[in-house]
């Protein structure tokens, strides 16, 4: 027999920690093992994506070279960064609903699965990126970051943006199902608008002003600078703007979770 708490009362932090631990173990298993060939697709999906994009690009050859960076590594870095944000957001979308049954235990709150899933997703994406860098090194393609410190800090920043978006989307998507549909529709255009596949340097200024409202552009440009020493960022990109948006998303997401906690549980 197990006494629920060894000491008379566990502190809130201890309770939260054991919930996160329990949730992480379960999410890690269901993410990697439960899906058929879950591991395989995690690596194969970005790889196939890159192959298709390279094929299209070499077919079209619409514009010139990218200043200061080889094309394929440039795109891989962009894709990885974009996927990190995208997965942070999309994993959050289903997180609250998928764990509906577990709110029967008062220790578990709707925000827990979102945080845990985002953490897990970030870990997996980082691992996959490392695998890609190692794989590229074996193919004699230089994908190692020139400025590793900058690259890592920007990588973490993108992770935070994904978490912030995931927190917001997890509440809104659970309360309003249409949000999920619209988001899935928006993902593909966002891939192009974020300058992942085609560089946005050559866009006219009036259009660039609007494109730079998207925080992912700022993050990706700095991430690429971390990887390629001589890379010319899109003029106007700034990490201050990126972090303003990220912190706003995080605060808004946490506030939404506080405000709608009961409704999320009662869904």
């Amino acid at each position: 027999m197990l006494t629920p708490d060894a000491s008379p009362e566990r502190s809130s932090w201890e309770v939260t920690r054991s919930v996160w631990y329990a949730m992480f173990m379960r999410e890690a298993i269901s993410r990697t093992m439960a899906d058929r060939m879950g591991w395989f697709w995690m690596i194969a999906e970005p790889m196939i994506f890159i192959l298709i994009m390279v094929a299209i690009r070499s077919f079209i050859r619409s514009d010139g070279l990218i200043v200061g960076a080889p094309f394929i590594p440039w795109m891989i870095v962009g894709l990885m960064g974009f996927f990190l944000v995208r997965e942070g957001m999309m994993r959050g979308l289903g997180a609250v609903g998928a764990n509906q049954a577990l709110y029967a235990y008062r220790q578990v709150r709707p925000v827990d699965p979102v945080l845990v899933r985002n953490f897990l997703e970030g870990m997996l994406r980082s691992l996959i990126f490392l695998l890609f860098i190692a794989g590229a090194a074996m193919l004699q393609v230089d994908l190692a970051p020139d400025n590793a410190l900058l690259a890592m800090s920007i990588w973490l920043s993108l992770w935070c943006l994904g978490l912030g978006l995931g927190l917001i989307v997890s509440v809104l998507g659970t309360l309003i199902p249409e949000v999920g549909i619209i988001l899935r529709m928006m993902i593909m255009p966002l891939l192009i608008l974020s300058g992942v596949i085609f560089p946005i340097h050559n866009m006219p200024h009036w259009l660039l002003e609007y494109l730079l409202l998207n925080p992912v552009v700022h993050g990706l440009e700095f991430l690429r600078q971390g990887f390629f020493e001589g890379y010319q960022r899109v003029p106007g990109s700034s990490m201050t703007y990126f972090w303003l948006v990220t912190l706003t998303c995080l605060a808004l997401g946490l506030a939404l979770h506080l405000r709608f906690q009961q409704r999320l549980i009662a869904q």
Partner: protein, 368 residues
């Protein structure tokens, strides 16, 4: 001890009308097992969820000065895509048993007796298997108060026996708050009762009283629907012999007073249910079938009251026997209604007297 103070709960915002629970004030003492009674939708499960901390009330507060389990029930608690073992592991980890996870799994596996299904996804389980797992899981933890929302209702005979045995074994250490429509199990496991009605809660020190009150009300609703088209004079008891008429207002106040006397700790419920109202009025307009009227009861001493109670019990039995005879003889629909009304009246009179007697007993000091 669980302390509930001024509790209000509703599910739809912005409409004042539909409070599920209204101003609940209760104290569930340590070590007393309580049965929750009430009609479907009366708020039994809601109250249980609030006690468990799954939900927060709109107003009021709940103090849990005990380790309270999650509500064991048919719905929730397990994730369908994970196996029984994985779910048990999760719950053990949530409750902080890092080192004891294996011992929890072993004890649940032994109690639930699921065999190889323990390693199958929960969504393949039958409702009985889920109940076994849920029950075994909560018993693996050392809670002070276990909450059960019809958790035992789907189990087979052997499991029910096992479950109630497990609870009786730990009756000194733990208590139970349970929702069940099976009165056998309530009588078996609970001492006290809470009857939820019209958003209010009535506390009964004896579960049998709670069940009686619940029966009285649900029967009243049944017969209230039955006699809606019949005239009040048609509902006269067949044994009516000369007794005086009671003005309706007078009878109502007596009924309220005797009702409140039995609810020592709980707030007085507002007698606003239309079905109950109609019944009271009907009762008041009828000539008393047997013995004294309700307002005369107040003046009686204990011995007279006991006698009156016996008389009313006899009258009730007689009316019921008549109804049974005519039902087997294939009676008309209208006679059925009359008899149903007569039974309700007799039962109400019986309960009024019984409640008053019990209230008196409680007020009077023990005679030893």
């Amino acid at each position: 001890m669980i302390d509930i103070r001024g509790l209000y709960k509703r599910y739809h915002q912005h409409s004042a009308a539909d409070w599920v629970l209204k101003d609940i004030n209760l104290t569930v003492p340590t070590g007393v097992s309580v049965g929750l009674l009430g009609r479907n939708g009366a708020g039994k499960s809601t109250l249980l969820r609030l006690i468990a901390g799954m939900d927060t009330p709109e107003r009021g507060e709940i103090h849990r000065r005990a380790r309270v389990s999650w509500p064991m029930g048919l719905a929730g608690g397990f994730q369908g895509s994970m196996t029984g073992r994985q779910n048990v592991k999760f719950v053990a980890r949530v409750h902080g048993g890092r080192r004891n996870v294996q011992s929890v799994i072993d004890s649940v596996e032994a109690f639930a007796e699921l065999g190889s299904a323990f390693d199958e996804p929960i969504r393949t389980y039958s409702s009985g298997m889920r109940a076994r797992l849920n029950f075994g899981l909560s018993l693996a933890f050392d809670f002070d108060v276990y909450l059960s929302d019809e958790a035992t209702s789907v189990g087979d005979r052997a499991f029910k026996a096992k479950a109630s045995k497990a609870f009786k074994e730990r009756v000194n250490r733990a208590s139970l708050i349970m929702v069940s429509h099976s009165e056998g199990i309530l009588l078996d496991l609970c001492q006290a009762g809470i009857y939820l009605k019209d958003g209010g809660a009535l506390w009964f020190d004896d579960i049998r009283e709670a069940i009686a009150a619940y029966h009285a009300d649900s029967d009243a609703v049944l017969s209230g629907q039955g006699i809606s088209s019949a005239t009040s004079s048609a509902a006269t008891s067949s044994t009516a012999t000369g007794a005086r008429r009671v003005p309706p207002e007078r009878a109502m106040t007596v009924a309220q007073r005797s009702g409140s006397a039995s609810t020592v700790r709980a707030p007085v419920p507002s007698p606003t249910s239309t079905a109950v109202d109609g019944n009271d009025r009907l009762d008041a307009q009828q000539p008393s079938a047997e013995g004294a009227t309700d307002d005369a009861l107040e003046a009686m001493d204990m011995a007279e009251l006991r006698h009156e109670l016996r008389l009313r019990k006899a009258a009730f039995d007689r009316v019921k026997a008549t109804a049974k005879r005519s039902a087997s003889g294939g009676a008309q629909d209208s006679t059925d209604r009359q008899q149903a009304a007569a039974i309700t009246i007799a039962r109400d009179r019986l309960h009024t007297a019984r409640r008053l007697l019990q209230a008196r007993k409680r007020q009077a000091p023990p005679s030893n």
